[in-house]
Symmetry: D2
Subunit: 393 residues, 4 copies
């Protein structure tokens, strides 16, 4: 298998998570995946780029992202910058024939997301959004149970992503907390993850009714330390209707007192149900009406090597994976796909666009206090063959 040459744009926090994932994905599956060449890191802060390259084993660092998107020695461009630069970088990469992996959310506006999707489709490159929870083994098992009919007809989908770090009033107004750069607050940042999970499990969303709040209304400006108003939400509730008829409820918060990474969902069908919480990331709760009435109950399935996504890791069920491993699992898909293997499971720019549509509708709904319908564009048909299961499934 010939090596995959990767260029990374953005040398911030995500550079570490992505680098480890490239390395681990390959080490865990040396026979199934191509070697990865960590060719180049670009960052507007050239010094940061150089330090990241040196620290994380990339061959070089540079200031100009075009040295990544347009370079001949790059096959895959990994975009890990703030949201407002995703579009320009990813589109340029696509136009230069690179496969693209983009951090979530896809963009800081629906218009940008649309353009990005159009660009990668036109270019015919592979494209991925880092919705890392979609390929998490317990999620994949939930998806399989639903696809296999174990839940019957889907009635209800609840999902939430709750943190409390936003309660810290000294937290400065970083790019994530400004609408101009981030595009949205909690509903777009962590919200795009749960919207993606909701779509994965319950299908497309038809309309939404959202309520947003900004509980911590002022924060210190980076640098000056002056208090400035926050113009994005730190808490949102989104009532959802799925095209398939199920009702949904999505909650996001950065100010959920005591919540530490409470990513959770519940999918209820008329024959069964699944529940998940990141507080017990290696378990999926499954309830089936097929059990005898006296013996029915949610069972805690402990994820192990039998389960899709977990196989390349450790031999004993319950040994457990961590947050970093979620990136490794995603990158397994990305590496397999970009090396020509017909695998599926990773979210694409189409998924990123769909999430952006929902976020956009939610923001309008919260502003206007009414239900907002989604009208997805006519979609280009994805021309590539897709297998249901990755090789380790």
């Amino acid at each position: 298998m010939s090596a995959l040459r990767v260029g990374l744009v953005g040398a911030g926090f995500m550079a570490k998570a992505h680098t480890l994932a490239y390395v681990n994905a390959r080490l865990l599956s040396p026979d199934a995946l191509p070697p990865v060449e960590r060719v180049r890191v670009a960052d507007v802060d050239a010094e940061l780029a150089r330090r990241a390259a040196s620290a994380y084993g990339w061959s070089e660092g540079c200031a100009d992202w075009r040295a990544v998107t347009r370079a001949d020695d790059i096959d895959l461009v990994d975009v890990a910058t703030p949201n407002d630069s995703h579009a320009e970088i990813a589109i340029d990469a696509a136009r230069h024939g690179k496969h693209v992996l983009c951090e979530k959310p896809l963009a800081n506006s629906l218009a940008a997301a649309r353009e990005m999707h159009r660009a990668v489709e036109l270019a015919g490159v592979r494209h991925f959004v880092a919705f890392v929870y979609r390929t998490w083994p317990a999620m994949a098992l939930a998806k399989r149970l639903i696809d296999d009919g174990a839940l019957g007809r889907l009635i209800r989908l609840r999902a939430m992503f709750l943190h409390d770090y936003g309660l810290d009033r000294t937290l400065p107004l970083t790019w994530r907390l400004r609408r101009s750069s981030a595009g949205a607050g909690s509903v777009g940042d962590i919200g795009s993850h749960v919207i993606d999970l909701a779509r994965l499990l319950a299908g497309e969303i038809r309309r939404v009714m959202a309520r947003s709040a900004t509980v911590i209304a002022e924060r210190p400006e980076n640098g000056s330390g002056l208090m400035r108003p926050v113009d994005v939400d730190d808490l949102s509730d989104v009532l959802v209707e799925f095209a398939g008829g199920a009702t949904g409820l999505i909650e996001t918060s950065w100010v959920a007192t005591g919540s530490k990474m409470d990513l959770a969902f519940e999918a209820l069908g008329d024959r069964g149900a699944v529940r998940f919480t990141w507080r017990r990331p290696m378990e999926l709760q499954f309830y089936s009406e097929d059990d005898p009435a006296e013996r029915r109950g949610f069972r805690a399935i402990v994820i192990g090597p039998r389960h899709e996504g977990a196989a390349p890791f450790w031999p004993v069920a319950g040994q457990g994976l961590g947050w970093g491993d979620a990136f490794t699992i995603l990158l397994r898909r990305v590496l397999a796909s970009t090396s020509g293997q017909p695998v599926a499971g990773a979210a694409t720019f189409l998924d990123g666009l769909r999430a952006a549509e929902v976020v956009d509708a939610a923001i309008r709904s919260a502003t206007e206090g009414r239900w907002v319908d989604l009208s997805p564009d006519e979609l280009p048909v994805d021309p590539r063959p897709v297998l249901r299961r990755p090789p380790d499934g």
Copy 2:
């Protein structure tokens, strides 16, 4: 202490729960509470009334509820009939000078609830609604923590009451499933309980945005067995804004696959939080920012005799109370109050009215797809002295 003479209207399922509670309340606290004379049971089905009287130790059964509401030998009228007869019976009892305990929800319409509240206030009798969870020890502890400031300023209140018994398609169209008799579906029936808890913990509700669904749209008619459309919701989500500024979210469902009595809430403040679920009814989860940062976490407080409401029961923390005991705790308040003791804690017709206002607004909101403001009437001042703590507190 002179005996309290009770008359019961309605000999259905609740007659058992209420009878046990009268008996147990007195047996648990023979020195603090008056003896209870179970004088008379009335039911439109005279034979059922007679059997209930005989089975549950009431002196007699009769068909005419006026033989309870207007009798000289009755001090307290206990209304345990379907919702659509609450108003007529309770108002008649009040007009004849009886104290009244009414099953929830207070009425099958907001108008009826208003009339009932006016009637008891005019009559100057004691009045109670059987919101039995409000006095449950873990709830009382949650309330005390909030009142004591342990949570800081309240940001968020989530509450839910989820069952799955409605998924049984053979469940017939009983009075609870018809709007004419019940007034509302899940949002009014189990919803009135959680609305009451929400108000208890977070104060009055200013406006609501609701979404309702009827997942099981047809059910067999009682008797004929013919399939008839269901005209009440079996699933609702209510976005809430509290007058105090907190955001709220209330969910009710009879079709929550796998949920067995999932009554739960979470109250989040900027200094702490509490969580409760009926799946562990003897625990309250409490999180405090006052703990050292490295040692912070939700702690499971196990309810025991130290905690308000639980004292008259068993000596060891964690021995545990059951659903029937919730009625016993409520009736302790009712018996103490009607025997002239200045206790509080039980919900009154005013609480029943407030819940009815919220249910009414939620139904309008769900129908019209928009936020609905609540405009509470000018309230008569409650003239009776109220102590914060019941005697066992």
Copy 3:
């Protein structure tokens, strides 16, 4: 059905729990159970007896327990005194032809327990020990799953009963904490409960190896307040071998920091397993190798009216029962049995004797630091027909 006339010996704490249970058992099942006449309470403290009689609705109180055991107007003698008087009272009652219900443990010595068992068998009366957890619905379900073969061959039984109230150093040297009156410490008091559960689920015990400790070695004497040495254990571990081949492990403690009523067990077979904890008393965890490998896990069966013992209570699964209800369930068995109905499920003096044998062996083992074999006496065959299921099963 003619009334059952009950006499109670002992007017202490248990008088309340037993009285409520007599009343509730009958109220819950007026058609299935006889009326109960609360005839007489005896206590060495005559004044206490009179107050208990008045408070709890017994016709009279008296000082001489023989006025209960030998009275013509008594059918069932309920022995709720300290352990060291069980034998004399219960034997006298049996000799006078009364059915006997005795609080646990059966006696304060193995010799006394043997005599008691012989006496009731000779007298041909019905006899019960208040092992109230054996008939708790989740335990009954565990037993049924084992009997139905859902666990396969039993490999392992772990059980524990842990409290922390003994950590309070001001707790005085009551009769429970003196070997002369109690017979044993935690291993006999709460231990007899878990030994009974262990036998229920895994069959007879062949040998034991115990280790005991007295963590709080001195306590204030009642009255004088002088510190005196404690001569019973407050913490024990008992390794067990069952006649059927399973290994067992039993833990008891009054000094288990943070434990509030942690009664728990786990029964493991080669085809499945069950787990229970009183922290979630309305759930039984069940694991089955019959589930497909990818969907296997412990499922939380929520107890409801379908389950044995819970039927007479409330209509919705998960509403929940409390500690007091455990006595009600036991007394349903006792009342049905003493009124001539062929029911089973309640523990008898034989079960009390078997537990006493294990406690005796455990104390010897702990003292001598070696395994101790049990050699049960040749048992008289129980002559009465026994049905597997109580009427509500």
Copy 4:
């Protein structure tokens, strides 16, 4: 910082876990840790060694482990072979001046463990045993709480490591299941981990009383497939007394139906308690008598970057680490220490020896059915300075 040159002996399953850990430890902390050169892998199966080298990025593979232990280009020898070859390899490495990291248990006999410890001490090299749970963040927090006095005087230590994979009767008689190669069954294999944790938290063990069983008594021989008797335990209970006075209880099992990696412990003191289970690896339960009586309860502390060991990973509490990360955390200690930094926390050969003493005593106790005292050798004083906290603490 000059690079650390590592040689690995054993190309089996652990080669993957160790390789990833070397890589990740360095990538997570490029500034704090030396670069790691993966120099050479040796395995008796030369082909396996070569494939592992190629797959996992080691410069070469070879058949002779002496090419690792005696090579000039190696600083640290990592011994990841079956237990019966640990001693010979590790001792040879030490004699040739290499630092040594040895997989657990240290050896397949107490005598071998003693020799190994003597060898590394004589050689003055750094030595580590891969007790990877000791440095897991929640364990480190438990240790710190105990050291800080938050639990008061320790009363009790329970620990267990339970799996069910041994219930699979087709599992062949690998080296882990033969006494000659493994030295012991569950009590030595997974048992050595929990013995290490017990010592970490409660100090040295004075005497033990063990009971072992071999539930699956025959297994197919590798190759022939013929059924052969199993000569090691698959289930053990070890009663323990600590030198400090606390009582202990250790359970190990490969046949714990439904248990998937149930590594758990509970340390109880007279002022507080901690509980941990690998089922929720990112939480430590902490109970403190210092909390007000009405608000006391076990609190779930969610591990995050504030906690020792977790800092180099991810920025948000609750993101979570997996089993592989446990090796990374251990190797951080090993790499820092072997590069001359004065860090502590990792288990040494002395810890490995102490665990071997306990395992040896447990086996003798189980065989002879009696308590066995431990008489630790006179210990050489560890000559190296030790800091309480690693740099990321």
